[in-house]
């Protein structure tokens, strides 16, 4: 970026005006950005601030730093136990983790086959998958509930939800892997492996799959975010309280305690926390993963 800047100033006209104009301009930009940034963060700051306050203090003034009941973590303790936080957290973790692992493996294998075996089967299914990306979830949810709920009666199992997460993410993940394999995995390497005595499966798992690393990282990030935050699909599949994921628990919890602002704010903070911690740790990876996923 600084490269871009120095080139801009190499225009003779703006040189004459000197550095002061540029300084003023960048000060203005900083001010605008700062104002917008505060505006964007405002909802989070409000939730954070009020999660430590009592209901009475929140209702009298959500901004105030001077409280009658003081700041404490009582709301967090209550929310944590009442929403059975640890349990739903583990549900989310297990469901997101296994869905992501399976979809990564299956889509990489599919994409590898589609690229390397250019037969009719590959063509039919790879275009079918690519086309299915535009189907909105709402056009599938009704038959899905009827088939898996009314007919087969397999809803309300975590495994069913994992199964569906895999099915819905297959097309996008396979599509992205296909593009990467086509342009970045040299076939000569695979031929060398075959000559050295690797069979197809070893070639894939020991040679090709490790080469897919960057794409795997992108897809893991995209899928983890999607699965972790998903609400509509899990709400249609899971109903037993012990099986609910974090977004589902938050939803029911909000319904029960909606008037108890302090506890609600703490519950929202608790729900947001795991992903924010992950973001703090892997910020640049997540950002580049999201961009890579969108641009492809």
């Amino acid at each position: 970026m600084s490269k871009n800047q120095s080139r801009k100033t190499s225009i003779p006209k703006s040189m004459k005006v000197g550095g002061r104009k540029k300084q003023v301009l960048s000060a203005v930009i900083v001010l605008i950005i700062l104002a917008l940034f505060l505006l964007y963060m405002f909802p989070f700051l409000m939730v954070l601030l009020n999660s430590f306050k009592s209901k009475r203090d929140i209702i009298s003034n959500p901004f105030s730093l001077r409280t009658k009941d003081g700041f404490n973590t009582r709301n967090f303790v209550q929310a944590f136990t009442k929403m059975n936080y640890l349990h739903s957290f583990m549900n989310s973790l297990v469901i997101t983790g296994s869905s992501t692992a399976f979809v990564t493996l299956f889509s990489a294998m599919c994409a590898y086959y589609f690229v390397r075996w250019n037969n009719k089967f590959s063509k039919v299914f790879s275009s079918l998958m690519a086309a299915s990306i535009i189907i909105p979830f709402q056009s599938l949810m009704i038959p899905l509930v009827i088939i898996y709920g009314n007919k087969l009666g397999v809803t309300d199992h975590r495994a069913t939800l994992v199964f569906m997460h895999i099915g819905f993410s297959m097309s996008m993940s396979t599509f992205i892997y296909q593009g990467f394999i086509k342009s970045n995995v040299p076939i000569a390497l695979e031929e060398a492996a075959t000559i050295d005595g690797c069979d197809r499966y070893r070639t894939f798992f020991q040679i090709v799959f490790p080469l897919l690393g960057p794409t795997t990282a992108t897809l893991v990030i995209l899928n983890v975010l999607a699965f972790w935050n998903d609400y509509l699909l899990p709400s249609l599949i899971l109903s037993t309280k012990e099986l609910l994921t974090l977004p589902l628990t938050t939803y029911t919890f909000y319904g029960t305690y909606s008037a108890d602002y302090g506890i609600i704010m703490a519950a929202l903070m608790l729900t947001v926390m795991p992903i924010l911690i992950l973001y703090l740790a892997l910020q640049s990876k997540i950002i580049s993963g999201v961009v890579a996923g969108a641009v492809k």
Binding site: M46, F106, I146, L232, I286
Partner: protein, 292 residues
Amino acid sequence: MKKSRTSDLRAGFMFTTPGILIFVLVVIIPFLYGFYLTFTDWNGVKEIKNLIGFKNYANTFKDKEFWASMLLTLRYVAFSVILVNAIAFLLAYLLTSGIKGQNFFRAGFFTPNLIGGVVLGFIWQFIFLRVLPTLGKRWGWTVFTNSWLSDPKTAFWALVVVTVWQLSGYMMLIYIAGFMSMNHDVLEAASIDGAIGARRMWFIIMPLMVPSFVICVFMTLSRSFMVYDINLTLTKGGPYGTTRLVAMHVYEKAFTSRLYGIGQAEALFLFFMVAIISAIQISIGKKREVAA
């Protein structure tokens, strides 16, 4: 590579079966079954299912609430797409100008996208119900004195605000990637030729950013068309069902009113809308793309 036909088949089976099988069971079969469903009058409870021809489609056209929600959704999508992309483009432009801490700001603006719509809706419900009215009363800002969620007109704008707040950070990242990959020689040549300021923006930068615009418009379009979570937790369709977007309408038709056939017919209509719009959008984008 030496391949025999049978081992080819076996490899294909091993590599593709798990993924394709699940894909077919979860996406293709429900999709086809959904078509069949639109020709029946099933309510999910009855044993008997009657084939009733195109009656569900006829009812879809007569369903006033469906068209009201469709119209509302179109309005919502239009405002969201325009505002999200305008603000995202501005943010990206400002955050590639080389100011200090721009990575920090980028990360911050993106944050809402990490969090599920359910939680975002609840957070903003609190803002609209408690925080803004307090602000309005204290400082005499009449726009905020009454909660935005209690009036149909402002409740609609509350939905747009939250959507813009969330998605603009996402699209900003894509525009930033566009700005970063721009060919600086072209920009330099243009400035030497006298293209600066607004002209530089309009004639040089904008055309070069067309690929980013295509991606972003496509993504905002498809996302806002299908929005459900935020709608559910921010307004719950209220006040008095005035902010029920089409996804919520379909959900209620099927799972609350138990009219599976009509619900599915409307859902398929939504599918065709999305398909047509994205096809148009992609072909327009392809035409206007410049080879840089």
